[in-house]
Amino acid sequence: MSLPAAFEAWGPLTEEVGKSGVLRLTLAPRRGRTVIADQYWRIPLQGLPPSYQDGDDEAYVYLLNPTGGIVQGDRLQTAITLAPGARAVISTQSATKVYRMDETYAEEVNHYILHGDAVLECLPDQTIPFAGSRFYRSTRIDLDPNATLILTDLLAAGRVARGEQFGFEQFFVEVEVSVGREPCLVDRLHFEPADGRMDRLGLWNDYVYYGSLYAYSPRLDKDLIMTLAELIESCDGVYGGAGGPAPSFTVVRVLGRTTWAVREILFNAWDLLRRRLVGKPARPLRKL
């Protein structure tokens, strides 16, 4: 990771402010199921024991932040490694709220490593940056060419129901997917509302929720991307598109006016991809 200047200006995050959470998991197949083969965590990050909601080998792992949100100075580091043959759905327990900050910022750094034919479906809840917050999130994914990845992200413009939108100060989010160490797809968004209205044409238009999906699989072909694009573009009330920027990759971007509209379209996209790439339908996540 390399921090943008707008964050760096606050100086390095120290132990005195905020919390430093660490979560390291290794998932591996054992006796017909994917289990946590190795783990280390430090509050405020924590992983819950896996459940098996599809009734097969695939582990559902929920990441938990018991403090209920991210405050200034927080550093959260998650590293999840999947051994060949491991299959996992990773999600969060609830939405990630990023609170107002008097000074400095908060950062979340995620690193997922997929070996062999591992399958990772990463479907976190939405992120809500409150007015006055500054948040840096970097998610790096290293893929074996035979691995399968489906990753979604959902971002709110703020606490929209309260009429608060684009009140945050800095929001930087990057997703970097590499196959064999070569970055193939890098999505970096840096929103600074003080820099100009966010509802301008081509930026967020007049939408307040933004969802994205990134997928990779050696089984992802042009026909599937075409079907996905037709599904995304045919939805009313949201504005979305899909495409395949590189072989075996697809990306979806969608803007909407409500959380549920964007969530529904991401769910439908997940369902389509999951049936073809993982061999089973999507299911509404049962939170524990």
Binding site: S2, P4, L189, H190, G202, G240, G243, R253
Partner: protein, 230 residues
């Protein structure tokens, strides 16, 4: 090179007559026009301002500055790394293809018109399959050979991009010639602002945040009828 020779070279490189094929690309603008969202000078100006500030400036603009500095320093490893990052940052397939296609055309022309060591080294890397051939990287190599200062290269690159999209808009929206040029003139501060920002953008800060424009670029592939390639 004398100042007037540098200016002459820049004018030629950024001229609409320089054969890059950029007039065939709308970068998602055509989708906005067909949806009725861009329909006059004011809405086009808003769209182009966002494109410069949140899309072209922080990726290709910043890429020109980074690559030109790397070429001047002889750091070809960095040139390749930044060039590949520029490709990875383009998520809409048509935008990825547009940058490579205009980049290749510009390189072919530059080798004839502005031959120089950087252009030749880059051409060899492209032939070798190592460099992706993004238009920003090619522009930076030509600028390095011509010894144009980075801030000037940036202004020239972004101005030429804005000018070419203005010509595309004249055809698509459509706009009157004088109204379109006045719009371009009024975007001067936005072009300068994007150039200044791009000058200090670091590799880890290259980004495209114009989400709706990116969606439009994705949707462009499936428009029923289209005049532009992207």
């Amino acid at each position: 090179m004398r100042a007037d020779e540098t200016l002459g070279a820049l004018l030629q490189l950024t001229s609409g007559a320089f054969p890059t094929g950029s007039f065939a690309h709308s970068y998602g603008l055509e989708t906005f026009v067909q949806a009725g969202l861009v329909h006059d000078v004011a809405t086009f100006g808003e769209w182009l301002g966002v494109h410069l500030t949140h899309s072209a400036g922080p990726t290709d603009g910043a890429g020109v500055a980074l690559v030109e500095r790397a070429v001047t320093a002889g750091d070809w490893e960095a040139v390749l790394r930044i060039d590949r990052l520029l490709t990875a940052l383009k998520l809409a397939p048509e935008i990825r293809a547009a940058s490579r296609s205009t980049g290749r055309s510009a390189l072919r022309a530059a080798r004839e018109i502005f031959p120089g060591p950087a252009v030749e080294s880059y051409a060899a890397l492209l032939d070798d399959g190592q460099a992706p051939g993004n238009t920003a990287a090619v522009f930076a190599c030509v600028a390095a050979d011509l010894k144009i200062d980075v801030p000037v290269s940036l202004l020239a690159f972004l101005w030429s991009l804005a000018s070419s999209l203005t010509v595309v808009a004249t055809r698509l929206v459509p706009l009157g010639g004088i109204a379109a040029q006045r719009c371009l003139r009024e975007l001067g501060p936005a072009i300068r602002g994007a150039a200044i920002r791009a000058e200090s953008t670091r590799e880890g800060e290259l980004s495209t945040s114009a989400v709706a424009q990116d969606i439009a670029a994705l949707r462009h592939a499936r428009l029923y009828s289209r005049l532009c390639i992207s």
